[in-house]
């Protein structure tokens, strides 16, 4: 079920009301049922894949805890669990990509090969719930989390509908604990939850979808557009993906909060970051911290020699790229971030920059750094957005060569206003959350804002159907 669908407008209040009406002992069952229903709205049979992952990691968690005295056995169990969970992800997400590349390679070298590419659709949100499931077994292994004995609660931890499809990728210490807690009706939670949902819908339907129509035009036929059009398209995509994903995360947080559950904040004004490193501390926080805790630190993190650290960084960001999708463009996108982070650290060690910084005004330097980071991020989003290398080549080729072509991009006023509103909101909020900021405003201001947002969502949203971008991952 999509958050921006008419079905969800009915689903959300029904589930929330039922949640509060039921005694605590039955709430998990209702939420699990609702989450299954929510997931099965897309492709029902894929719930079986989800159940397989749940069953594997549920069993692994208990076994790891039982064998806590036997380090070898415990480790083996963890490895088996990680491999089997990742195998499901590999089959559905990467097998087609691998076989296609193998076939291409075989053709290139003239090897005999079975020319078979499986035609499997990727279950929605598989990468997200796989990672959430993995974080559970790893935390149990590390002794930070007790194994969950109640299958229903564990299944709900993986399937909790607000964050099931596109995260935030939760940690068991946060969500599993909260699922056991008895939640009472709380006005602030409901009000803040609804504010977040409204904000999320505004970002998705008014900002992201309106920008999306122009981005799609440009990336479909880049050769028809000039340099300025393509530059705008790139900037639009930066805000489209931010609005889209931040919107989804806000709705997810809002739905959970309305029932009293607090999920991880996924964004903290990422386009106000003044370095790439800071960008990754503010963008898709639940994923970046996942990689930090379960891959970067186990590899040695930054407590190793510089060459090893550089290698770790490259590994982590390349894997992060592949996590997003089985395509070379994602891999390049991730790898590029790794390279940039290495360069950034290298440049930070050159003292001349410090001298410039001390001599010039700090604000100007900060603004320049923010602009520089935004430009780099925007350029890399182009790699991320491109459907293939050929498409990427077309975009950059037109961007460089089409400076004299007449502009073909006719952006309507609504889109400009929506974009400006988004930038202003982002600057006002800084790292604050919309619901909290909103709660601090005068009631008149607040209600005028609600009215404007509701009107915009209904009247100015795009009539084209744009699924959430991160659904494909």
């Amino acid at each position: 079920m999509l958050f921006n669908s008419i079905e969800f407008i009915l689903f959300f209040p029904i589930v929330t009301i039922l949640f509060y009406l039921l005694p605590h002992n039955y709430r998990w069952l209702m939420l699990l049922g609702a989450s299954c229903f929510f997931y099965m709205w897309f492709i029902p049979k894929y719930i079986l894949i989800l159940l397989i992952t749940i069953a594997i990691d549920y069993t692994a968690g208990i076994l790891i805890e039982q064998w806590s005295d036997d380090a070898k056995l415990k480790k083996r169990c963890l490895i088996v669990s990680i491999i089997s969970t990742c195998l499901v992800l590999f089959i559905f997400k990467y097998l087609n990509f691998c076989s296609a590349n193998f076939v291409a390679l075989a053709q290139h070298f003239g090897w005999a090969h079975p020319n078979k590419i499986l035609n499997i659709a990727l279950p929605i949100g598989l990468s997200f719930h796989t990672f959430q499931s993995l974080s559970y077994v790893i935390e149990v292994y590390r002794g930070n989390q007790k194994a969950e004995r109640h299958f229903g609660y564990y299944a709900l931890y993986v399937m909790f509908y607000p964050q099931l499809v596109t995260g935030p990728i939760e940690r068991p210490q946060n969500l599993l604990r909260q699922l056991h807690e008895e939640k009472t009706l709380n006005y602030d939670n409901i009000a803040n939850g609804l504010r977040l949902i409204l904000f999320g819908l505004f970002l998705k339907m008014v900002v992201a979808d309106n920008l999306g129509q122009y981005v799609d035009q440009i990336y479909a036929n880049p050769q028809d557009f000039n340099t300025l059009d393509i530059t705008l398209g790139m900037v639009f995509y930066s805000f489209q993906i931010y609005g889209d994903f931040f919107g989804y995360s806000s709705i997810a947080l809002g739905c959970a909060l309305a029932m009293g559950f607090t999920l991880i904040d996924n964004f903290k004004a990422p386009y106000q970051a003044n370095s790439i490193q800071e960008f990754w501390r503010r963008w898709h926080i639940s994923l970046s911290t996942w990689f930090r805790d379960y891959l970067y630190i186990p590899l040695g993190g930054n407590r190793v020699a510089v060459p090893r650290w550089a290698l770790n960084t490259l590994i982590v960001f390349t894997v992060c790229g592949i996590w997003h999708g089985a395509n070379w463009t994602f891999m390049i996108w991730g790898f590029a971030y790794g390279v940039l982070l290495i360069l950034e650290r290298g440049l930070r060690n050159i003292h001349v920059f410090d001298k410039i910084a001390s001599r010039s005004g700090k604000t100007i330097i900060k603004v320049v750094n923010i602009a520089k980071t935004f430009v780099i991020v925007t350029l890399l989003w182009s790699v991320f957005r491109a459907t293939s290398f050929a498409n990427l080549h077309d975009v950059f080729s037109a961007w460089i060569h089409n400076s004299s072509v007449a502009s073909q991009l006719h952006v309507n006023a609504i889109t400009w206003i929506a974009l400006a509103a988004f930038i202003v909101i982002d600057l006002i909020l800084k790292q604050n959350r919309f619901d909290k900021w909103c709660g601090e405003q005068h009631p008149y201001t607040r209600w005028i804002l609600y009215a404007v947002m509701i009107f915009s969502i209904i009247v100015f949203s795009s009539v084209q159907h744009y699924p959430f971008i991160y659904f494909q991952f």
Binding site: I190, W447, V459
Partner: protein, 344 residues
């Protein structure tokens, strides 16, 4: 429920009341500002409903592509409705045709015709393919359903909200294909004699997996594909559960209420080709479906013009896919038959 809970519920109730008031005000604001523009932009069908009043027409011809499609070789490129108009001096026929329209859309157009109107007769095109799941879940259905939203009787802001939240068929291609396939399975076939296939799906699969027709004649894959199209489009048995029958029922009631004469123009299909390719079983089904319409609607005062066999193979100008696109001769035959029944 504790006292605190009651207090919270009361507080929430007040806020929702305030929200409802704001929504009413926003609806008024929308209705007087952007709604007319949106209706024009997103609902061209709504303009159709105004034509009979604007042009003072006493006959409405509701149709789809069969009305206005013509062969490149046609010297006379008039639509069926225009031919009827020319054949009926003293009457004015409104041409309300849009590709892929069906009874559900016609009903909405008719419903939105202003109360005061000069209309006396309504001719509704009944394309026999429109009852099949191939058409019901057609990819052309999405834009039509989007337009239908603005034709509903509902507050303006609510209608725009339905559009914003995509409350219409927005299937992905794979979802649509699945729906069509499931629809074929539901098109069960209960013939009065032994017939090996339970439904359209089985029949389609059986023919599609070989290179022989029903009579054992070996043919090309293209011919098999065309035969399968005919099976998918026409292998069904009408009953009142079919959504298009329900739409036709609504049209009948509406016309009765408004005092309009109603004519169902059952379109001609390429029966010559169907007989050769799919054999007598499909022909039997198609004939019985038209009979079903005649027996259902004629007692209710509807004139059902049966054109099923009216147009011969040579007058269909599209040969690779089942259509009801006739050349000038074919269109003329249909128009003439309708006028004949109109004059009765």
């Amino acid at each position: 429920m504790t006292e605190n809970d009651q207090h919270i519920i009361l507080k929430l109730g007040k806020k929702f009341l305030l929200l409802a008031t704001i929504l009413v005000m926003l609806d008024i604001l929308y209705r007087v500002t952007l709604y007319p523009r949106d209706r024009e932009r997103y609902c061209t069908l709504m303009q159709y409903a105004q034509i009979p009043v604007k042009d003072s027409t006493d006959i409405i011809y509701l149709g789809e592509s069969s009305n206005h499609s013509y062969s490149p070789a046609d010297k006379d490129q008039r639509a069926i409705s225009d031919m009827i108009d020319d054949m009926l001096p003293g009457h004015k026929v409104a041409r309300l045709s849009k590709d892929a329209c069906h009874a559900g859309i016609y009903y909405d157009i008719l419903r939105n015709i202003p109360r005061k109107n000069p209309v006396q007769t309504v001719i509704v095109t009944v394309n026999m393919r429109s009852f099949s799941s191939e058409w019901i879940y057609s990819d052309l259905e999405k834009p039509l359903q989007k337009e239908q939203i603005f034709m509903r009787k509902a507050p303006a802001l609510y209608k725009r909200m339905l559009l914003a939240f995509k409350a219409y068929a927005h299937w992905t291609e794979s979802e649509r294909t699945k729906l069509v396939r499931e629809g074929f399975k539901k098109q069960t076939l209960d013939l009065p004699y032994y017939f090996p296939y339970k439904n359209a799906n089985d029949w389609d699969h059986a023919i599609g997996s070989q290179c022989y027709l029903y009579n054992g004649k070996k043919v090309s894959q293209d011919t098999i594909a065309l035969t399968c199209h005919y099976i998918k489009d026409f292998a069904y048995q009408l009953d009142d559960k079919n959504p298009r029958i329900q739409d036709l029922d609504k049209i009948v009631k509406l016309c009765q209420r408004r005092g309009w004469n109603l004519i169902f123009n059952v379109l001609a299909d390429n029966m010559d080709q169907i007989k050769v390719l799919a054999g007598p079983d499909l022909e039997f089904l198609m004939k019985s479906n038209v009979q079903y319409l005649i027996h259902r609607y004629e007692p209710q005062g509807v004139k059902v013009v049966n054109n099923q066999y009216m147009v011969r193979d040579r007058d269909f100008f599209e040969r690779e896919f089942p259509t009801e696109h006739y050349n000038q001769h074919g269109r003329h035959m249909v128009a003439e038959h309708i006028v004949e029944r109109l004059k009765e």
